[in-house]
């Protein structure tokens, strides 16, 4: 099947992301990649747990002193909602409705940006209020590395969505770009799942000491 072939909503295949061999390969390869990413984050979580609250002296802030539930709750809601909106986008992608897909992706990007904004505020807050920095203690290093890796993933995910949106604004959907949109949203879900673990392991468990 030719990747650039033009479709209508009636001829558009059911799973456009897996219709071409290229799409199928990408689909599988990306799932495997996410498997590797899972191990990467598992290693970071383990490191964080080993170094949580490990500080050089008593005057350093600990997790229980710093974390505030309202802030991370808002961040969690933003990211979870953005996952939902990317599902809507994929729903419209499968229905060959390019305009609606674009709209929902733009909303997704907006929510992701809001999340990032809060994260930057949060880091800034810890640095200035509590002198909890990347270099102040092993706890600091492991906290910013774990949460920062996640944040970097958010940045990559946003960049990916934007690049795809810009590149394809005027071309509509075809079997060449459908897998790309699909994978970007898969990546976005993965980022969301990681955040759920960060929320639990870092913040909730941090609140109880």
């Amino acid at each position: 099947m030719d990747a650039e072939q033009k479709f209508t909503s009636r001829t558009w295949p059911e799973s456009p992301e897996k219709t071409t061999l290229e799409g199928k390969n990408k689909f599988l390869g990306f799932w495997l990649f996410l498997g590797g990413e899972t191990v990467l984050f598992a290693s970071l979580f383990a490191t964080y747990l080993a170094l949580k609250d490990k500080v050089p002296s008593d005057d350093h802030a600990l997790a229980i002193d710093m974390f505030e539930l309202p802030l991370v709750f808002i961040m969690t809601m933003l990211l979870l909602t953005s996952s939902l909106t990317s599902v809507y986008a994929m729903y419209h992608m499968k229905n060959y409705n390019f305009q609606k897909m674009k709209t929902w992706l733009i909303i997704t990007v907006g929510l992701g940006l809001a999340f990032l904004g809060f994260e930057i505020y949060e880091f800034n807050h810890y640095v200035h209020e509590y002198h909890h920095t990347f270099t102040s203690s092993a706890f600091g290093s492991s906290f910013y590395t774990l949460v920062g890796f996640h944040g970097a993933h958010v940045v990559v995910g946003l960049g990916w969505f934007l690049l795809l949106l810009i590149r394809n604004t005027n071309r509509g959907l075809n079997l060449y770009n459908a897998p790309k949109f699909f994978l970007a949203s898969l990546y976005w879900h993965f980022i969301d799942v990681v955040w759920v673990f960060i929320f639990t392991v870092v913040y909730l468990m941090g609140m109880v000491g």
């Binding site: 390869g29 290693s43 170094l51 490990k54 050089p56 203690s137 290093s141």
Partner: protein, 629 residues
């Protein structure tokens, strides 16, 4: 498009290789660069053995010795053994499963160039202030205090080449799952394909912990983090865990493909179906799985406690079971077969006792209580060289002889091959057998010199003489390769005469599209089945039609180059900060420029559509009459 057989100039060939996405050419790139690093690592090994030939020697200084020792291990594992295995995987696996290419030709090339630039970066340390010196395991307690940039070269170089390895692993997994020819079910896949499959899965799950470990080290050394700084709350054991969660699977990433090569060789030259195929597959998968459960056997003496040590000891010993299954299956494959002792077969036969000896010392080491005596002595050095040289390197040498005709269309000289074999085998055992006793006598590993009068002289001298034998063996192999390519006597599809699997059913080297018509696979050893029915070719599974091919691309090279450049920036910004912005002002700009080159080329790749091209049916039919190359 397809019948350009005219002589190309050197630059054209170079450009072709710099931009190729053809798995057969990438295989050659891996073979050449892996072979180069193998020679570099070999020279380092010779220096180690010269220094230890006689007591109280002063051939190299203590500091330089540490650097050479570290670079020997690091180079051999990451830059020689793995790329050489990738060479054969690339050359053979797509052919064995009847595919026209790998699933991601572009990523295949990217994986190679990342490895290549990472390796070059690591080795540039020799010229830029000194190589890493904390051992190939680079334990944090040692490496965070190591002066100069040696460890930074280690961290950044391995980070770059590790990314390439991860990409290659994913590529092989998808290729094997999605690209098999009609009829090539999982339980008909040749054992080399199976072992590549399992090794790739190990890569996928083992490399991320290394990536994280290297990041932590990078942050500690270059950006002021405190993961391993105990005075700041850090903990150096984290590095050991992360390193070995990667490191033990890594040794199986190395040995499983070698097992695969040997399985092909045993079946081919015993002219018999591999004995216990299903058990072999099961054992391979089981070894892969268990490989993740045993990492702490490298840390018995760290003080994890008796419970942890006991669990890891038992899990470690359990791996010997599937390994034993394989050993017996290979022997039973030979049993009653009509064996031909070609060079590859000699290596295969010699591999069994050599590797088994390494497995036996492995089980000895696995006994945690006893390991307190063996740990960090030459006994461990003997163990891992028995499994790695007696297993992986013999496998690579066997594979070089076995697959050379398929990769280059010429046959290495058998007589010289056998000379290499005997020299290497004798040298190998002479070098490492005595090291068991040196270890038991108490000689610590990684020691720069030993003193006279401790009973260590004789065995150390024997060990060095053995190493000279191996060096000569390798030189004979290099000579063999050169004269073979100069004589350039072309061979046909199935030069060994006993090929069983699909790669032997097509030309040597194969046309760039591999199979004009995808073959129909009717069972295990499909080519053998056709031969037994009197056919000379595979039964096609499709009519001749247009073939879709990917375009060449220079982007993978540029992308990897960008990271290579950025790594220098990341490294020297440390000096820039140390000098309060006085010197090395270029460091941060270089870091940014390098990253921009990489990100930019990624963006180009993403924005520019690349649909590949088609070879037309008519051209394919023309190829048939004219014959290409």
């Amino acid at each position: 498009m397809s019948t350009v057989a005219q002589k190309q100039g050197f630059l054209a060939v170079l450009w072709d290789y710099l931009t190729t996405v053809d798995h057969k050419k990438i295989a050659i790139l891996y073979l050449i660069s892996g072979g180069f690093f193998f020679l570099v690592g070999g020279i380092e090994a010779m220096i180690i053995r010269i220094q230890l030939a006689v007591p109280d020697n002063n051939f190299v200084s203590a500091g330089l010795y540490n650097e050479i020792l570290t670079m020997h291990g690091t180079t051999m594992i990451f830059l020689a053994a793995m790329p050489l295995l990738f060479a054969f995987m690339n050359a053979v696996v797509p052919l064995q499963i009847g595919a026209r290419d790998v699933a991601f030709p572009f990523l295949n090339s990217l994986g190679f160039w990342l490895f290549f630039f990472g390796g070059i970066f690591l080795n540039l340390s020799w010229f830029l202030g000194g190589a890493p010196d904390a051992g190939w395991t680079s334990y944090a307690s040692l490496s965070i205090t190591s002066e100069g940039h040696g460890i930074d070269f280690y961290v950044l170089g391995l980070q770059i080449s590790g990314a390439g390895t991860l990409i290659a692993g994913i590529n092989f997994l998808v290729t094997i799952i999605n690209m098999r020819a009609p009829g090539m079910t999982y339980m008909r896949m040749p054992l080399f394909t199976w072992s590549t499959f399992v090794a790739s899965a190990l890569i996928l799950f083992a490399f991320p912990p290394l990536t994280v470990g290297l990041f932590l080290m990078l942050f500690d050394r270059m950006f002021g983090a405190n993961f391993f700084d105990v005075s700041m709350g850090g903990n150096t054991i984290i590095w050991e865990h992360l390193f070995w969660i990667f490191g033990h699977p890594e040794v199986y990433i190395l040995i499983l493909p070698a097992f695969g090569i040997f399985s092909e060789i045993f079946a081919t030259f015993s002219r018999k179906r591999l004995f216990g195929y299903a058990a072999m597959v099961f054992a391979t998968v089981l070894i892969g799985f268990l490989g993740f459960m045993v990492w702490a056997h490298h840390m018995f003496t760290v003080g994890l406690g008796p419970t942890a040590n006991a669990i890891f000891a038992v899990a470690t010993m359990a791996i010997a079971v599937p390994t034993g299954v394989k050993i017996f299956n290979w022997m039973l494959t030979m049993w009653g077969g009509s064996i031909v002792f070609t060079t590859p077969m000699l290596y295969a036969v010699a591999f069994i006792p050599s590797f088994t000896a390494g497995g036996v010392t492995g089980v000895m080491l696995a006994s945690a209580a006893a390991d307190y005596q063996y740990h960090d002595t030459y006994f461990v050095v003997a163990h891992f060289h028995y499994v790695i040289v007696g297993g992986v390197v013999l496998g690579l040498l066997a594979g070089t002889h076995f697959y050379w005709p398929k990769m280059f269309g010429t046959m290495l000289n058998e007589f010289l091959g056998k000379i290499t074999f005997w020299l290497f085998l004798i040298g190998f055992h002479a070098t490492f057998f005595v090291q068991h006793f040196l270890g038991l006598m108490g000689m610590p590993r990684r020691i720069w010199k030993f003193l006279d009068g401790q009973g260590l002289n004789l065995f150390n001298l024997i060990s060095t003489i053995g190493a000279v034998f191996m060096a000569v063996a390798v030189l004979v192999l290099v000579y063999n390769i050169i004269i073979t390519q100069i004589k350039n006597v072309r061979v046909g599809n199935d030069p060994w005469g006993d090929g069983r699997t699909l790669e032997w059913a097509i030309a040597s080297p194969p046309p760039f599209y591999n199979f004009k018509q995808l073959p129909l696979v009717r069972g295990l050893d499909p080519y053998w089945i056709e031969k037994m029915e009197g056919n000379t070719k595979m039964t096609p599974a499709e009519p001749v039609g247009d073939i879709h091919m990917p375009n060449n691309s220079f982007i993978p090279f540029v992308m990897s180059l960008g990271l290579f450049i950025a790594a220098f920036g990341a490294m020297y910004q440390v000096d820039w900060r140390a000098s309060d912005g006085e010197s090395f002002v270029w460091a941060i700009p270089v870091l940014i420029i390098g990253l921009l080159i990489t990100l930019g080329s990624m963006a180009v790749r993403s924005l520019k559509d690349d649909h590949g091209y088609h070879i037309h049916k008519e051209d394919l039919l023309k190829d048939d009459e004219g014959g290409r190359e």
